[in-house]
Amino acid sequence: MSDRYISIEGIARRYPKAGGGTTTVFEDLWFSMRKGEFVCVIGHSGCGKTTVLNILNGLDAPDDGAAIVDGKAIEGPSLDRAVIFQGHSLLPWRTVLGNVAYAVAAKHRDWPKAKVTAHAMAFIEKVGLKGSELKKPSELSGGMKQRVGIARALSIEPKMMLMDEPFSALDALTRGTLQDEVRRICLETGQTAFMITHDVDEAIYLADRIVLMTNGPQAMIAEIVENPLPRDRIRTEVHHHRDYYAIRNHLIDFLVVRSKSFRDEIPEGYDRRHPPIVRPGADGSGPDAGHKAA
């Protein structure tokens, strides 16, 4: 069953419209993830990416369908699923250590204080913040704050990590370093990760598979792109890989053109339950190469 470790089964989310009636953000969305897999979601603002993420973390609930993790339907937030928020969302009145320890103590309520601190410190070290553990978030740079967020998420040793554009507010250099770190940690710990991003290069570097969502409302999963790059990729060399531009162009073409037009020209044989799986590569030609594989 590790093939469907996380499974989204026909979920829909609707909001009442201001003037009456309802807006359907998306409906009948199907998608699953393997254990230890890193999945990125790409789509324009308003396509419901964050809603999907919030359904996965339990802060939001679908109007139809269900989201299942490890054989159990999601009913509310759980310590099994850690969230790294877009704004770092650290508690400003607590120190770095206090913020991480807060999560550790929430997970292990019976632990003595010393054990909680030691556990929290281990994860602060893991994200390279040793020496800053007694600082308040206001004394940290944006990148360091997000590191604390990562340490906090990791410290509860979740079954999966959910990330909502975690690096979008950071400068390019910091973003690169943190991407390296998240990738390293996820590979080391075999973490299952689900990340929303706007950044095509981030998705190519981090993801095993990339979910493409069409524009909302009534967003759909247009296709699922398998990353042709090898798993042991290195950020500085990724763009030299022969398949790099094939996948990059494919993703950008989707964002620029097909995310809008997909709904009006749904390909023949499109099945919401099994969105086409695409593997762009240098062997094919053009962005639609690889559709054969679906």
């Binding site: 339990g58 699923r81 969230v83 704004g87 969302s89 508690l91 999560a103 929430a106």
Partner: protein, 281 residues
């Protein structure tokens, strides 16, 4: 060379104080050149030395200083109901304020929490708060005296009723304005509602709550003087009124100064607490 800002401010403050004291001294020294002659002897007898000798009835800073020194040397004497030390009177007022204020904290903070967390309760209680809030606390006095039948407890009640509103409204506002992302952090960590209230909402809203508490203590200190003038017996407010009846302007000025200094101490204490719970964002 320029002195640090704080030092320059201190020098300027002292200069202003000296100018003020000098002006005060000069103004009270120059009495009329002998109006005693034109005054009805009966009235002169009634009014005492100041009028008969043409001296200003307004005490100068030296008189006030002398009296303050006298009070400071023996603040706690008790020579019957109409002659108690300034320290005793101040302690009575402070006791009433702190008691009424503490009761107000006990009610306003939990109730404010409830209002801030529940839109239903917030809407339901809003009309009552809107009507009760603008009532002058002293307007409650007759009702308090009638129902409680004890002037001292009535004064405490008046302090309670005037300190409740700023704390209630600020707590409610602070609690309702806690950032959603912090609440979501707690929710994703499966933190229960009670723990969430104490570990997220309370620290997040603490600066706003303390602002309300600071406003309240200021109002309470304003109101206690008026309340004690009404109920009489003890307290700094009664002292002011009693000295007015004694026509001891010197003691009235002393009391005014003491009220000001005490109010400042109360305010600064709360300000310090407020700084302690404020977090940089």
């Amino acid at each position: 060379m320029t002195l640090p800002l704080n030092l320059r401010a201190l020098v300027l403050s002292l200069a202003i104080l000296v100018v003020f004291l000098t002006a005060w001294h000069v103004a009270t020294q120059t009495g009329g050149a002998g109006p005693a002659a034109n005054i009805d002897p009966e009235y002169a007898k009634l009014m005492g030395l100041e009028v008969t000798q043409g001296k200003s009835a307004m005490p100068g800073p030296l008189d006030v200083g002398k009296t303050i020194w006298g009070h400071l040397r023996d603040p706690f004497y008790d020579k019957g109901p109409n002659d108690k030390g300034l320290g005793i009177q101040l302690a009575y007022s402070l006791g009433r304020v702190l008691l009424g204020y503490a009761l107000a904290v006990l009610l306003a903070v939990p109730l404010g929490f409830l209002i801030g967390m529940s839109p239903l309760i917030s809407k339901a209680l809003d009309p009552f708060i809107q009507v009760l809030k603008p009532i002058s606390p002293l307007a409650w006095m007759p009702l308090a005296l009638y129902t409680i039948k004890d002037s001292s407890v009535s004064a405490i009640f008046v302090i309670f009723i005037c300190s409740v509103w700023p704390m209630l409204l600020n707590t409610a506002f602070g609690v309702s304005a806690v950032r959603k992302e912090w609440l979501n952090v707690a929710r994703t960590l499966e933190v229960g509602p009670v723990r969430r209230a104490f570990t997220i909402i309370l620290p997040a809203a603490a600066p706003t709550i303390l602002t309300g508490m600071r406003i309240s203590i200021g109002i309470a200190w304003l109101v206690i003087v008026a309340a004690e003038m009404l109920v009489g017996g003890t307290g700094i407010g009664y002292f002011v009124w009693n000295e007015w009846n004694n026509l001891s302007i010197t003691n009235v000025i002393v009391a005014i100064t003491v009220i000001g200094v005490m109010g400042m101490i109360l305010d600064q204490t709360l300000a310090r607490l407020q700084r302690a719970v404020t977090y940089p964002d």
